[in-house]
Symmetry: C2
Subunit: 336 residues, 2 copies
C-alpha cells in the first residue's frame, strides 16, 4: 500500500460532551501515544470549542514528537445531530448551545490538511473494522453499550452514513411493538436502548428485584443509588452465580441478540461487534449473545455471522477518526 | 455516459418458481418489448432449468428484433437461497429440487457475455432505483408486498447484498418481541411478514371479523376461502368506507411503517418504496404508511425520508436485472 519510504501519520480527534481526545495514529492503525484529552466545555461557545479542537490536535502532534508537516490528514468525529456530508455539527444534546458548527472546514483551513468528518459511533466502528475485532472482515456492525446504545455499520470499506447522517442509529432500532414496548429516553417505546443500555439494565434490575422471591445479593442494593447499583456490579454478581443477576444479564444478552437479528435481516454483515462498558463483561456475555443470535436470527446468515467483542477499548473513536482520514487520502490517491 | 453511437442493449432475466421472464432493455432502462415468459418447471431438474433460462433469453432477443451480437451484457435474478458472489442458486424452497446451480457461469459461457447475478428482490429494488420511483435518489429501500414480504436496499449505486446473500430480507425483520409476536411462516415469531404479507392480512381480517360487533361487508365472507377473501377485496371495501376493512388496512400501514422505521434506524435511506400487489391500493395506503413512519420513526431522518409507491410493476425484476448487467459493464469500463 505504501509505495514511498516516508511513513504516513494521521491525527484522529474524538469530540465528546465532556472531553475531546486526539492522538497521532500510524498508517498501521497504532496510536503513537495515549490520546491527549482536553475539556470540551461546550458552554463556552462554539468558537472556543473549535479552538480547543485545534489545540487538542496540536498537543497530540507534539506529544507524538512530530511536527505538523509530518501529518498527512486529520479525522474528526463528533456526536449527532450532524450533517456528515456538509461537515457540520448541527445541535447535539450534549454539546449545547452549539449549532451549525462548520467543524470540517475549520480544521481543514486551520491546518491546511485533508480533513475527514464522521459521526463518533461510526468512527469507532471504522476503527474496529480497520485494526480491531473486524480487521479481517468485509462487513461489520458495531453496537456500543454505554449510557445509551450506539452503532456503526461498515460494508466494503464504506461507512453507512445514511442520507440524513443517521445510519447505524442502532439504539433506536425497535425490538418490541410500540404498544408493548418500554419507554425510551427518546420518547418512543420499544427501542433497543430502553432494554439494553446501562441505564435500562439498572432499571430492569430494580424492577425485577421488587418481584424476586429467591435469594440474591442484589437485595442489599434495594435502596442503593445508581452510583452504587451499576452494571459492573450486576455483571460481577452474575459471574459469581447470583441468580437474579444472572437472569438480568441473560435477558440483556437476549435483547441485544434481537437487535443483532434485525441488522442481520437488513444488512447481513460478516461480523457483529459489541463494545463499550458492558462488553467488558467478557466472553461469557459474548457467548450468551451468540447463542440467542443463532436462536432468534434468520437461520442461514445467523449460523455464519461472527459475534465478537470490541478490541480497541475507549480509543476506538480516535483510531477510527484517523482511519477515516487515511481512507480519505487513499481514495483520492491515483495508485489506489 | 455513452461515448459511442452504437446503442447498448441488455437482457434481464427474472427466474421465479412458476415462470421465468426476460426482456431486452435499453441503456435508458426501457424494455423493448413486454417480457417473454416460459414455465420454470423446476421438477424437470436443473439442467432443463438452465436450458430454459438460455431459451428465454434467446426468445427475448428475437422478440426485440435483435441478434445476440447486439447484446452488451446479461443480468439474471433468482430467488434465495443463493450465493450471489459465487453465482449459485443454492436450494430455494420454490425451485426444488435444484441445488447448487451455477447460473452465472452457465449463462456467461453459453452466450459469451458479461453476466450479472442478483437476488430477485434486490434486482427489483435496483430497477426502481435506476429508472423507477427512486431514480433521482442516492439511496433507497424497497419493500415488496406479496404472499410474503421481500426487500432490497441500494446505497450509492450499490446493492446491499449481505455477506451471506441475505441483505434486505425485510420480511423477517422482527417488529415485535418473539414472546409477543405472531408466528411467521419461517417458524420465528414477530416477523414483519407475519403481520403485513397478503396471507397475514387475510388472516388478521378473519381474526378481527370473529370479534367485530359493528356492521361490515366482510361478514359476507365469514366462511369464504382465501381465493374469495383477498387483500384486493379488503382494500376495495376500505376505500368504500367499510369500518372493519379500514381498520385492517390502517393496521397494515402501521406494521409496514414499523418495518420502515427499523430500516431508517439501520441505514437511513433517502426513500422507502413499497411495491407488489398490495401497493396497487395506491395513494391513500401510501399516505397512511407515511403518517405512521413520521410518528414512529426516528424524528430527524423520518421527517425527511420520502415514502413512495413502486412504479415499474411486475417487470421491476427484469428491468433491474438488466440494470445490474449494465452496471457490471460500466463499473469495468475505464471511462466510468
Amino acid at each position: 500500500m505504501s509505495a514511498g519510504s516516508t511513513p504516513r501519520y494521521y491525527v484522529g480527534l474524538d469530540v465528546g460532551g465532556t472531553t475531546m481526545k486526539a492522538a497521532v495514529v500510524s498508517d498501521a492503525g497504532r496510536p503513537l501515544t495515549p490520546p491527549v484529552a482536553l475539556a470540551t466545555r461546550p458552554e463556552r461557545g462554539q468558537e472556543a470549542g473549535l479552538q480547543t479542537m485545534a489545540e487538542t490536535i496540536r498537543q497530540a502532534v507534539t506529544a507524538a514528537g512530530l511536527s505538523l508537516e509530518a501529518i498527512t490528514a486529520i479525522g474528526v468525529a463528533t456526536p449527532g445531530l450532524m450533517d456528515i456530508r456538509a461537515g457540520l455539527i448541527l445541535d447535539p444534546p450534549n454539546l449545547k448551545p452549539w449549532k451549525n458548527v462548520p467543524v470540517r472546514d475549520y480544521i481543514r483551513n486551520t491546518f491546511g490538511k485533508p480533513t475527514a468528518y464522521q459521526n463518533d459511533a461510526n468512527a469507532a466502528a471504522f476503527g474496529e473494522f480497520w485494526v480491531g475485532a473486524a480487521r479481517d472482515c468485509r462487513s461489520m456492525v458495531l453496537f456500543t453499550l454505554g449510557t445509551g446504545v450506539g452503532g456503526g455499520i461498515i460494508i466494503d470499506d464504506r461507512i453507512i452514513e445514511g442520507e440524513h447522517s443517521h445510519g447505524g442509529e442502532l439504539g433506536h432500532l425497535r425490538i418490541a411493538l410500540p404498544e408493548q414496548g418500554r419507554l425510551c429516553g427518546c420518547g418512543a417505546r420499544g427501542c433497543l436502548e430502553a432494554y439494553a443500555s446501562a441505564t435500562a439494565v439498572v432499571r430492569r434490575t430494580r424492577e425485577a428485584l421488587a418481584a424476586w422471591r429467591g435469594p440474591t445479593r442484589l437485595r442489599d442494593y434495594f435502596t442503593a443509588t445508581d452510583a452504587e447499583l451499576t452494571t459492573r456490579l450486576i455483571f460481577d454478581l452474575a459471574d459469581n452465580g447470583d441468580e437474579l443477576a444472572l437472569h438480568i444479564v441473560d435477558e440483556t444478552a437476549y435483547y441485544l441478540a434481537l437487535g443483532a437479528a434485525a441488522v442481520i435481516a437488513v444488512v447481513d454483515p460478516e461480523m457483529i461487534v459489541f463494545g463499550g462498558g458492558m462488553a467488558e463483561a467478557g466472553e461469557s456475555f459474548r457467548a450468551r449473545i451468540d447463542t440467542y443470535v443463532r436462536r432468534f436470527g434468520l437461520p442461514y446468515p445467523s449460523k455464519q455471522v461472527r459475534i465478537a467483542l470490541a478490541q480497541l477499548g475507549p480509543d476506538a473513536g480516535v483510531i477510527g477518526a484517523a482511519g477515516c482520514a487515511r481512507q480519505l487520502v487513499l481514495s483520492h490517491s491515483p495508485s489506489h
